[in-house]
Every structure is written in structure tokens, then in C-alpha cells.
Amino acid sequence: MCLAVPGIIVSIDRAWAQVDVMGILNAVNVLLIDEPAVGDCVLIHAGCAIQKISSDNLSYLSNILSEFLIKEEKNG
């Protein structure tokens, strides 16, 4: 139940935003985050945006770990 999904804010009307989650628009409450703006990537849990996130989640992790493994291979 602590599952949260990422999405991109497409439009905002006061407390509610239309958020694109994998191509599907969802109404998401944005009162739990500071200064939401169109284009922000957010983490959504139970209908609320609970945190702003960076858009390059996977590439960040992949790059760090690729570097780590390449280093390990060289050392090994």
C-alpha cells in the first residue's frame, strides 16, 4: 500500500493537477508539495503528490551502477 507512481504535471487548477502517468491523465491533489508547476515530475500515492522527483530516475541509477561495476571488473 506504500506503492507510489511517478507522473508529470500537465495542468494545475488550485489544489488539483492533471498528471500524466504513463500516458493516462489523472486528477492528483498537490497540496502536500511546495510550489507545484506544470512540467514537474511528482511521486503520487493514494491520489496525492507526495514529493517532487527528478525525471532521470532510472538513468541516474544505471549510470552510477554501471560505473561501479566497470570499476569492479577492472579491479577483479
Binding site: 506504500c2 506503492l3 497540496l31 507526495i50 541509477l61 544505471s62
Partner: protein, 357 residues
């Protein structure tokens, strides 16, 4: 590099690092499910044991609160809750057992939906039964605040909102099995900050990592932990989910949460009372407390001793070590909460046939 190849390389590295038997606990039920669904568990060396933790909110909701929900349903009211909550049993019955009595029971995705339910039914009392951890609590707090501002007097809340650190302190202090590493819940940390879990390494000398929920995230967390544990150096803490989790978390969400709730001692199903482990509506919002509104005092209840769910979520036994697992307890006919919730460890083990049945 392709993620599949990356994960394969990581698993190879994990296998090389696991010279001795290692126990790593994944605290969050969403992690338990993700580990099972991705098949990562079956790729790990046999001496690396993944223990499920107490991070499934359905599994730790006390029986007395289910009984309270059933009691409240004796009135002509509307009860709304999250999906898995309707199936868990209290001392005698579950919420879903009340359906044949033509009771109004709604399953909601968002707590905010209960505001509309209350607006649309002004002549009925609406009760939202909320269970969750720090990820869910800010959304519940926001819903309570909005109900207060809108004067929705026909809405109240039955809550089982737990905090992670107190139960982790209990497990790490009283553990029967030695825990060498901890995968910390990523979305609790998104709200509370990565720093919320630094005590695991600082106070207990146990390596810990905040991880995301994709197979790559989980494999990277396991790689980090096994490397650190096998190196034998001072215990470390890492935030491997930096794109979603900052050190300080979401202060706005925490403020709203603490405007609405006080922290007090809480009852955990099968575990008992844990000091300062639960959020309760504070005096400003106590008129929204369903227990007070319906004058119900939850009875303390002794759990079904045949069911070993409490030992499973404390990391003392594996799900398949419970004598009911796969026989008297299956997802179709569950005996305990860990088999009911999709995030329960027994359910995850059973569904993905990891016990070798």
C-alpha cells in the same frame, strides 16, 4: 547498458560477496512483492536470506480495530476503506463478512474520495477506515483538514497509522535472527527523508540502504549491502533512491501530518503495544475520530496463536515455516493477514511459488 544485463552482473557480484550466511530484511511490503514478482529472490545464492519486515499496513492493523469497524457497521452508515482492509478478520469477522447484511461498504483508491462520499450523502454518517505508514498518513491528514474546513460533520475516521522507526528499534533490539542488512522503505523515506533511517547504521551497526522498487533498484540495494557486509568495515548507510528521496524529505507533507496527528503508543497486530509508534487525531480534530463519535472502546484481543504472521513480520521465521502456510492458509482462504494483503510476505511467497511447493 541494458538493465537486464546490468541486473545479471549485479547478481553475479552478489553471489561472489556472499561467502557466509547473510540475513537482509526488506522492511516494506511493496519491496516484498517487487522482489517476488521480479524473480530476484530465486536468483540469489542460498546463503543470502531475505526476511520480510513489518511494512505491510494491513498485516499490522490490530484485530480490535477491525472489530471496531464491524461494530460501527451495525449502524446505518457508509464505511469506506482501502482494498485489502475489507478481507482481514478481527476476532470473529471481517468487513467483507458484512456485505451480505446489505451494509454500505466502499473501497477507495484515495482518502480524498471520502470527501465526495460525505458530500453526496449528507443524511448518512461516512467513516473512512485508514491504514498505512508515513507514506499514507499525510494524505489522510490532508483529508481530515479539508473535512474540517468544509464542516463535513457526517465524516469521521477510524485510523491505524503506524510509524516505522519504533518497530524497527524493537526488531533490531530483540531479533531472534541476526540481521546483517536492511532495505529501508523508499516511499516512507520520500516523505520523511533518507535521514529518518540513518539510526539503523548509527545505533545498531547494521548496513542499510534506501532503495526504489524496480528490479534494478532492488538488485543495486542488495549489491551495496552484500559488498559492505562482506568488506567488514564500519557499517554504512546509503540513499540509492536519490531521484525520489532527499535527505530531509517533504517538509510540507510532514507539517500537515503533525498539524492533525499526535504520536502515542500503538497496538500492532500479533506484536502488541509499541511505545510512540502510532498517529492519533489530536485534540483539534478529535471530533473526526470515529471511535469517539460511535462511542466504541476497542477491546484488547489475543491473536490466533495458530497463525505465525507476527513471527513472519518480525523476521523470526520464513512464511513457509508457518504450519498453516499453503495448507490451512492460502490467498483464497487466508488464515492470517500476511496471506490476505497482496503486499503480505506469505501472499508473495505463495503467489510466486518460492517455497518450492
Amino acid at each position: 547498458m541494458d538493465n537486464g544485463i546490468l541486473i545479471k552482473k549485479m547478481i553475479n557480484e552478489i553471489q561472489k560477496s556472499c561467502i557466509e550466511k547473510l540475513n537482509i530484511m526488506e522492511v516494506c511490503g511493496t519491496h516484498t512483492q517487487a522482489i517476488s514478482r521480479s524473480g530476484i529472490r530465486s536468483l540469489l545464492p542460498p546463503n543470502l536470506v531475505l526476511l520480510s519486515g513489518p511494512g505491510c499496513p494491513v498485516c499490522v492493523t490490530d484485530e480490535s480495530l477491525i472489530d471496531a469497524a464491524v461494530e460501527i457497521l451495525r449502524n446505518d452508515i457508509i464505511l469506506a476503506t482501502f482494498g485489502d482492509m475489507v478481507r482481514i478478520r478481527g476476532s470473529l469477522e471481517s468487513i467483507s463478512d458484512q456485505l451480505h447484511k446489505r451494509k454500505n461498504i466502499f473501497v477507495l483508491y484515495s482518502p480524498l474520495d471520502c470527501l465526495e462520499l460525505a458530500r453526496d450523502n449528507p443524511d448518512k454518517q461516512v467513516v473512512f477506515f485508514a491504514a498505512g505508514f508515513e507514506t499514507t498518513a499525510p494524505g489522510i491528514a490532508l483529508t481530515v483538514k479539508l473535512a474540517y474546513e468544509e464542516n463535513l460533520h457526517n465524516l469521521s475516521f477510524l485510523t491505524s497509522l503506524k510509524l516505522m522507526p519504533p518497530v524497527l528499534h524493537k526488531i533490531l533490539r530483540e531479533k531472534q535472527k541476526k540481521i546483517h542488512g536492511l532495505i529501508c522503505p523508499g516511499h516512507v523515506a520520500a516523505v520523511m527523508g533518507a535521514g529518518y533511517f540513518r539510526f539503523v547504521a548509527g545505533e545498531y551497526g547494521i548496513n542499510a540502504a534506501v532503495c526504489g522498487f524496480e528490479p534494478l533498484d532492488i538488485a543495486s540495494g542488495l549489491l551495496f549491502l552484500t559488498k559492505k557486509i562482506s568488506s567488514g568495515y564500519e557499517s554504512a548507510f546509503a540513499n540509492l533512491y536519490e531521484s525520489c528521496v532527499s535527505e530531509e524529505g517533504n517538509e510540507t507533507a510532514r507539517e500537515i501530518m503533525m498539524q492533525v496527528f499526535d504520536i502515542a503508543d500503538g497496538n500492532w497486530r500479533g506484536i502488541g503495544e509499541i511505545k510512540k509508534s502510532e498517529l492519533f487525531l489530536n485534540e483539534n480534530y478529535c471530533s473526526f475520530d470515529a471511535l469517539k463519535k460511535f462511542n466504541i472502546r476497542p477491546d484488547k484481543f489475543v491473536s490466533d496463536q495458530r497463525c505465525n504472521c507476527s513471527d513472519v513480520i518480525l523476521g523470526n521465521i520464513m512464511p513457509y515455516e508457518c504450519r498453516l502456510f499453503g495448507k490451512a492458509c492460502t490467498p483464497q482462504k487466508p488464515a492470517g493477514p500476511c496471506m490476505i494483503s497482496s503486499e503480505g510476505s506469505c501472499s508473495a511467497y505463495y503467489r510466486y511459488w518460492e517455497a518450492g511447493l
